[in-house]
């Protein structure tokens, strides 16, 4: 049976939910889970204070009635599944290495930040710097799969190094900025300057962007086998994205302001 945490009321302060992941809760009693501290200020808040707990298998956690004050949901998660009904705050799924995190609503900034493995599905929209590094970190996302059903904020995939981000809606400015490698797919539109200062990696923007960097060079229309393989991988997650990847796409190489070994694909506007 699923372990269920139901938020009693909107918390007075932001809470850090990173201790509530399957591998940290495994084998714990209800009493010891209820006593886990979640506060981010001087005022002590435990799981029992903030949530009503229904015990179950710690490998499958459901958080109900969530709100944007819950930070670090699924952070550091290595296995199992967490399902959230509602919105969450910043850094959801940060440094996750495995398992599956499903957010029913929106996420704050830095969702999937530095993620290494596993899967995150955000049914709403994501904030800024999806998968990106926090201050002082060299690289952002390093593996795994992130799917955003809605839109994403600025700098989605910032400094991404490996893994796949799929945004079914639109992305804001600087999507895939400073990308080191990996794959970022924006099924609809991107804001200004996607791929800004990207070194390597692949960005696919289905419906173009509001402003295109002059430091990307046109390589022509191509129907690449690699896209077909990627489509096969993504089809179970997003059939419409798979269909986009099956069509010929225009390839731009860049960002020539830096290494220039990245690639930006756009759907054909003609």
């Amino acid at each position: 049976m699923t372990l269920v945490l139901t938020l009693r009321k909107r918390p007075e302060q932001r809470l850090d939910l990173s201790p509530l992941v399957p591998h940290l809760l495994a084998g714990k009693s209800a009493a010891s889970i209820n006593s886990i501290e979640l506060q981010t200020t001087k005022v002590r808040v435990t799981v029992g204070d903030a949530f009503r707990l229904r015990m179950g298998d710690a490998g499958r956690i459901r958080i109900e009635g969530a709100c944007e004050r819950l930070d670090g949901v699924g952070a550091g998660m290595s296995r199992g599944a967490i399902t959230v009904a509602g919105d969450v705050g910043i850094q959801a799924g940060r440094l996750m290495t495995g398992g599956r995190l499903i957010i029913g609503g929106d996420t704050g900034h830095w969702a999937a930040s530095g993620m290494k493995g596993g899967e995150i599905e955000i049914k709403g929209s994501a904030g800024d710097r999806l998968g990106g590094p926090i201050a002082g970190e060299i690289a952002g996302m390093r593996g795994g799969l992130v799917i955003v059903r809605g839109d994403a904020g600025a700098r989605a995939g910032d400094k991404m190094r490996r893994g796949t981000i799929l945004i079914e809606g639109s992305a804001s400015d600087y999507a895939g900025s400073r990308m080191i490698a990996g794959t970022l797919i924006v099924r609809r539109k991107a804001g200004a300057l996607p791929g800004y200062l990207m070194k390597r990696g692949t960005i696919i923007v289905g419906e173009g962007c509001t402003a295109f960097s002059p430091t990307f060079v046109d390589c022509g229309m191509h129907a690449l086998l690699a896209m077909r393989l990627m489509a096969g991988f993504l089809k179970p997650y997003s059939p419409r994205t798979a269909a986009l990847l099956q069509r010929p796409l225009r390839r731009y190489a860049g960002d020539m302001a830096v290494l220039g070994k990245g690639e930006l694909f756009t759907g054909n506007p003609d």
Binding site: G143, G163, T164, T183, T202, L225, A226, R228, L229, M230
Partner: protein, 301 residues
């Protein structure tokens, strides 16, 4: 040698002696089955015997578009060699020269294994810095820019140390034509056995060999005991009615697959019968002292 007769075909009471080998498999795809086959045929050319070719290779089977990673027609190729090092060398050389070069081709792992051989990892340098690594769905691919687009190649493929090489059948008939008919019938059946190949031309070898030679430095020479034109001149293994002998050599990913292929071949020869096909089936061995795998013909009926 004692002989038993099965539906008119004489079966020698002997065994095929086979050896442990290292093997790998790759899946080659292309825009059409024709070009997938072309790449596979080219890659498995000059791969009849490890003695002279470094590897023994063949097409295991044709794959439909549904069975391949990229949804295009494909071929599964098996490659065998005596050591992991030689197998790696042959794999990289053959895929690099024959598959990378073939129009529209792509190459994927054809075998799961705890141990792996470098596939795209060895060929990526052809990209001269423009090669692109892609990891998704638990797979790792290399994209290498080439003149017709990109060559997509999985980074690594599996290695098995359970492979067996040197399963064989000696097919003896009255005439060259009837013996070839029997060998062809056997090959048609063996082609259907999964995880096994017959590396010689069309699966059939007419120049079976014995170890050594009267000439210094020649490792193998004609199998005079089975050469019908020498029947009176040497100690022969042939009966008076045998005028032609052909051999099928079989390599498989396991000993069982070799046995299955030999069994299928014998059944097809027996079915064809002595009038249209072979009078007698034998097998080659070295007295049982060299190879650990002994496939007794009587066990395969």
């Amino acid at each position: 040698m004692r002989t038993l007769t099965h539906k008119g075909v004489r079966i020698d009471d002997t065994f095929a002696e086979a050896f442990g080998m290292r093997a790998t498999a790759v899946v080659i795809t292309a825009d059409s089955a024709r070009w997938a086959r072309q790449a596979a045929v080219t890659m498995t050319g000059f791969a009849t015997s490890v003695i002279g070719c470094g590897a023994e290779a063949g097409i295991d089977r044709e794959l439909t578009a549904r069975e391949t990673p990229d949804g295009r027609p494909g071929m599964r190729v098996l490659l065998f060699s005596t050591s992991t090092g030689e197998l790696q060398k042959q794999l990289a050389a053959r895929v690099g020269q024959c598959v990378l070069t073939s129009p529209g081709s792509a190459c994927y792992a054809g075998l799961d294994g705890e141990e792996t051989l470098r596939l795209g990892n060895a060929l990526r340098y052809f990209g001269d810095g423009w090669q692109i690594s892609k990891r998704f769905g638990g797979k790792h691919y290399w994209r290498i820019p080439v003149m017709d687009g990109e060559f997509v190649c999985e980074a690594a493929t599996g290695l098995t140390k359970q492979a067996v090489g040197g399963g064989n059948l000696l097919i003896m008939g009255r005439t060259a034509a009837s013996t070839l008919a029997a060998a062809e019938a056997a090959m048609k059946a063996i082609d259907k056995v999964p995880d096994a190949i017959a590396p010689f031309p069309g699966g059939i070898v007419r120049s079976g060999s014995k170890v050594g030679s009267k000439y210094k430095g020649v490792m193998a020479s004609t199998n005079d005991a089975y050469a019908p034109t020498l029947r009176g001149a040497v100690t022969t293994a042939l009966d008076a009615d045998v005028g032609s002998v052909l051999e099928i050599v079989i390599d498989g990913l396991t000993a069982d697959t070799v046995a299955n292929a030999m069994r299928a071949g014998i059944a097809a020869i027996v079915k064809l019968g002595p009038k249209r096909g072979a009078l007698r089936i034998g097998a080659g061995n070295y007295g049982g002292k060299l190879g650990p795998h002994h496939f007794h013909l009587k066990d395969l009926l």
